[in-house]
């Protein structure tokens, strides 16, 4: 009964909303949350005209899950195997290898740059025979599902600008996040959930924090802002009704609000009033939809086993991976995870083992889980940090305890699904793991490729702000053709 009533009110509101559309009054920011189907309107002239007809070509991926390893994990203890460094343990980094690389203020004044090999051994996995360190045995097992890029490089050498660059395509300033661009370009597939969601977790390693500008909508409409889901009592800020107020009571209040707002609308004729009614209804639906998504109690034992027991502890990386699958499965375009604690300037062998333990099993489980559900083909999973780490030790070197400084020139990330070639290694670094010798992939190229997989030509997804048309890839970027199917 109540449901029927709700539906009928919603229909009334929807009609009103649509009539408003046909009148064409649009100062309000409604956006993808509200009427998602408007985004899928293919072939409509007006739409095509605006951002040159997105999708520009048939998309491979419909959704993205980005497992950001915040703080910059070392490529040399994970995906870029360099036996030479062990051989040369303690020897000086040859200046010819270092070339003109600028160093951070933390090691620029260091008297010597002693090379240090990985404390951890590497093995080859799968048919691809990819080398992966013993810290990541579960990821090893999915080696044939992933594409490891060993030739990533970035322009920034410090955390804040480097993170900002990876997430927004620019080191400084209020540019929209990648997820916001995707929300803007493709809209939402689910009318009860935001198109772009953010999940945070934290390891015990040295951390650098995250900043809300990383998921900011910048100059895009705020409907495209990343909505943070948290493990606390309120999965979305202010989602829960106060104690002592049940759903029925909330419904009653909203009905009274609608009736009162309507009186005012009749007097003033301001379409914003109707938009407001709609937004309250949307909020009401989110109050049901979001807790349903957050509830992992119905997951099978196999799933829990696959992600590991931590996946039942809210706020852990494993729980966030499981949640990411559920959100993505329910049509959230862009799920952005951040796992903090990867900044191993010292104490690397110990700290990195802890960080790897946090993420290894669940990252692999996410890929496997998506694959089992037949979703991996249409979901692009990305794993990586904001830069790499130096091949020489920061501070005192000791074979069992060393640290590594920031290294933007060459590092590793991996991707899976969404039309990325599985079971391959792309790009190559020199034997010191310091310089790229083959197929460099710059951050702009990385962005161009992700958009490409979503069916978007990165040069055409633009937004005009302050007189200039902006893109995620600024004025650069080439799709990395070698890694796409």
């Amino acid at each position: 009964m109540e449901k029927d009533f709700l539906e009928s009110r919603l229909n009334i509101n929807r009609r009103r909303f649509l009539s408003r559309l046909s009148l064409g009054i649009g100062s309000a920011a409604l956006g993808s949350l509200l009427i998602p189907d408007l985004f899928s309107g293919k072939g409509e002239e007006a739409e095509a005209d605006f951002i040159a007809g997105i999708p520009n070509f048939a998309p491979k991926a419909k959704r993205v899950i980005y497992l950001f390893q915040d703080g910059a994990p070392s490529q040399l203890e994970s995906f870029d195997y360099k036996p030479k460094l062990r051989e040369m343990m303690g020897q000086e980094l040859p200046p010819s290898v270092r070339g003109n690389q600028i160093l951070t203020g933390m090691t620029a004044k260091q008297a010597s740059f002693p090379l240090v090999g990985s404390f951890y051994d590497f093995k080859q996995y799968g048919e691809s025979r990819a080398w992966i360190s013993d810290l990541f045995p579960h990821i090893g097992k999915i080696a044939d599902d992933i594409c490891i890029i060993r030739s990533m490089n970035t322009d920034a050498i410090n955390h804040d600008p480097a993170l900002t660059f990876f997430q927004t395509g620019a080191q400084q300033g209020n540019r929209p996040s990648m997820g916001s661009w995707v929300s803007y370009g493709l809209g939402s597939e689910n009318k009860n959930l935001p198109a772009f969601t953010v999940l945070l977790s934290k390891g015990k390693g040295n951390g650098q924090g995250v900043y809300s500008k990383l998921w900011s909508n910048g100059f895009l409409d705020s409907i495209h802002q990343g909505v943070q889901f948290s493990s606390g009592e309120d999965p979305i800020l202010y989602l829960n009704d106060p104690e002592g107020l049940n759903r029925h009571e909330r419904r009653k209040m909203l009905d009274n609000l609608a009736a009162l707002n309507d009186i005012n609308y009749k007097e003033f004729g301001d379409p914003e009033i109707n938009t407001k009614i709609q937004q309250y209804e949307m909020a009401y639906r989110m109050q049901t939809a979001v807790p349903e998504i957050m509830d992992v109690s119905k997951e099978s034992d196999d799933i829990v086993k696959m992600y590991g027991p931590e996946c039942l502890i809210p706020g852990t990386y494993a729980a966030n991976c499981l949640l990411a699958r559920k959100l993505s499965e329910n049509g959230v375009r862009f799920v952005q995870l951040y796992h903090q604690g990867w900044d191993q300037h010292n104490n690397l062998p110990q700290e990195m083992a802890g960080q790897a333990k946090d993420v290894d099993q669940a990252s692999a489980a996410l890929v496997t889980d998506l694959k089992q559900r037949g979703l991996l083909d249409e979901t692009l999973v990305i794993w990586g940090g904001e830069f790499g780490r130096t091949n020489y030790s920061q501070g005192k070197l000791d074979a069992a305890n060393y640290g590594r400084d920031h290294h933007p020139r060459c590092f590793s990330v991996w991707m899976a699904g969404g039309g990325i070639k599985p079971g391959m290694v792309y790009g190559e670094s020199d034997e010191f793991g310091y310089n790229i010798v083959k197929d460099p992939v710059h951050v702009h190229d990385f962005h161009a490729t992700i958009l490409n997989q979503l069916g978007i030509d990165h040069t055409k997804l633009t937004f005009k702000s302050q007189g200039r048309r902006y893109r995620l890839t600024d004025v650069a970027g080439n799709v990395v053709k070698g890694i796409i199917t």
């Binding site: 509200l34 005209d49 209020n174 924090g209 995250v210 409907i223 209040m253 707002n261």
Partner: protein, 773 residues
Amino acid sequence: MFRKLHLVWLLIAGCILYCLHACNSAGQQMDEERVPDTVSYNFNIRPILSDKCFKCHGPDAGHREADLRLDLPEIAYSALKDNPEAHALVPGDPSLSEVYRRISTKDTAEQMPPASSNLKKLSPFEVDLVKKWIKQGARYEKHWAFVAPRAHPVPQVKNTDWVKNPIDNFVLQKMEQKGFEPNAEADKERLLKRVSLDLTGLPPSLKMMDSFLADRSPDAYQKVVDQLMAAPQYGEKMALHWLDVSRYADSHGYQDDNYRSQWPWRDWVIHAFNENLPYDKFITWQLAGDQLPNATKEQILATAFNRNHKITEEGGVIDEEYRVSYVTDRTNTFGKAMLGVTLECAHCHDHKYDPFSQKEYYAVFAFFNSVKEVGLQSTVGGAETYAKRPMMQISNDDIKKVLKFINKQDTDKLIVSIMADSDKVRPTYILKRGNYDTHGDEVTAGTPKSILPFTGNYPKNRLGLSEWLFNKNNPLTARVFVNQVWQEFFGKGIVKSSGDFGMQGDLPSHPELLDWLSVDFRDHGWDMKRLVKQVVMSATYRQSAVVSPEKLKNDPDNILFARGPRNRLPAEFVRDLVLASSGLLNRKIGGPSVNPYQPPGLWENATSGRGQLATYKQVHGPDLYRRGMYTLIKRTVPPASLAIFDASNRDQCEVKRLRTNTPLQALVMLNDPTVLESARVLAAKLLHDNSQSKDKIIKAFRLVMCRHPQEKELAILTAYYNEELKSMTKADADKLLKVGEYPVPANADKVKLAAMMKVVDAMYNLEEAITKT
């Protein structure tokens, strides 16, 4: 979604937009019918050229194709470099003009703009416009915003009775031309709410409502305007916009994002507005207070404006990279805030649309490049890191004697980052592609000559720059500020793109009005209160906000100002309205920022763990109820409920906020403890009154909505109250009343209180409550 609405809107609004000469460049595309009798370069042609052609045939030498410029007549009229037989423009003869041929051709290989540019080809209407313009002589005009404003005569109108001051002559003249009539004056209650929120950011008190309703004298409105402008909250209201412009915050902004103590400058801004410091002094002190002869402590404190930018504390950064970024921020802020131009586009290359060369960018940069500062002064630490050199220390004695407006209650050391230059001028170089370490030619301090050359006797320092800014011939200074003030009161500027008066910006909807106001403002000693009063006293401002279906159809964006402004309040004032109407508001002005209720874990989940702001320490007692503008802004995790309502994150200079309407905002209003607690506290007060429940509801409605309810509104709310009274259980009431720290009266009837709380809460959640009516 947004883009869709926008498009439909454009389709329908096109005609009107066009004939108003009021459109943004996109609006031009829409009218398929009427090419005007006289085609204007500035209003019809330049927006097309700027959007479609200047990218490759404009001011940017780095990306110029075929060595052709269409922004300069002498080049556009002369023989083409790669085909001397042909000319881009032959005045009077479209058929001989290569421009016309290339925009009208069907041959895609020849067509301009080329497909590779990703720019849409010109619409048939735009092609017709260009054709007619060429036919009429292809006459160029200097960009309107770079020509000094002149005092246009106040126009004659038919309906002289409606006019209250000259603003109305300009606005009405345009309405009459288009066959529009102004709305009637808003009813007294709604008008009072509007003007009270606009002048103080707070709703009027019941007492003020009653006395205004009772005052039948012809100057009743003027009396409340004077009263509101004399209130100290006027300074707070005016300051808020300036805090956005000045990217003011309470943290350093990068990575660890530790605390900074810049708030005494914020107290100064409030003071300056209340004292009605003239705009020229207001700006000069902020830009160059330290360089004034015998600079006072107040003048030096004002310069903190240029140290509000983010400052890194990340160990290991490259010092010069960050030092340069601070100078860049100041330069860009100066361009956007005071000149209303996108100077920052010339940071890496010549400006692509506006006549600013990269060299000129660095000439402006030079003014801000001699500060005695470093990129990284200290990493996250204790009180000694709350400001960065150059800094001033403010003693309690200073506050007692000269800086009385600073609200400091303790005896702790207080430091503020301010401006001070080295004795020796630091040489400034063009930075190639904007890179801090790639020096090009050396430049000296100067300004873009297309705005106004930096010649004559100006000292080559920030003080000279201020003099230049307030030179009578500076075309931008007055217009840009007048427009920002207009935007504050009408929700949008006369120039809609208030941060971009350049070629790609919107054209003014009422260019003569903008000029008249600018000249008038300048000629009356840059008197800000006078300007504000002029605006709120106008009949234009006082109109009712009712949108008739006709006006909605023919002027959906209210470009003609043929109705009053009706906008949702800025984030901080949403909070203020809730607190003020419930009586919880703490009216203390200034002082260190505070941490009111915030959902748990927001800071903790996103921190490196270092610094004073790693964990959120909520305040208690009266500090919980300070105005929104005093909520501490930690830049990397700005206050959640404010951010959801589009408050600036203060990362960089912002002259105009987005104004959105989202489900997350609905959730804040439904569940933020501040709103729920206010509803509870107001309900408790009402129950304390010896009155009927109906009267209690009327009183609450008046406090929140600032008007008497209509009968049907009252009926719904009364029915709601009675229902709640019946269905509310003691257990639910107990739970509901727990929200917030303000005590529940010991003797309260909890069921009654909870029922009334829900009714008040419903009022806070009405669209009208947080809307300027």
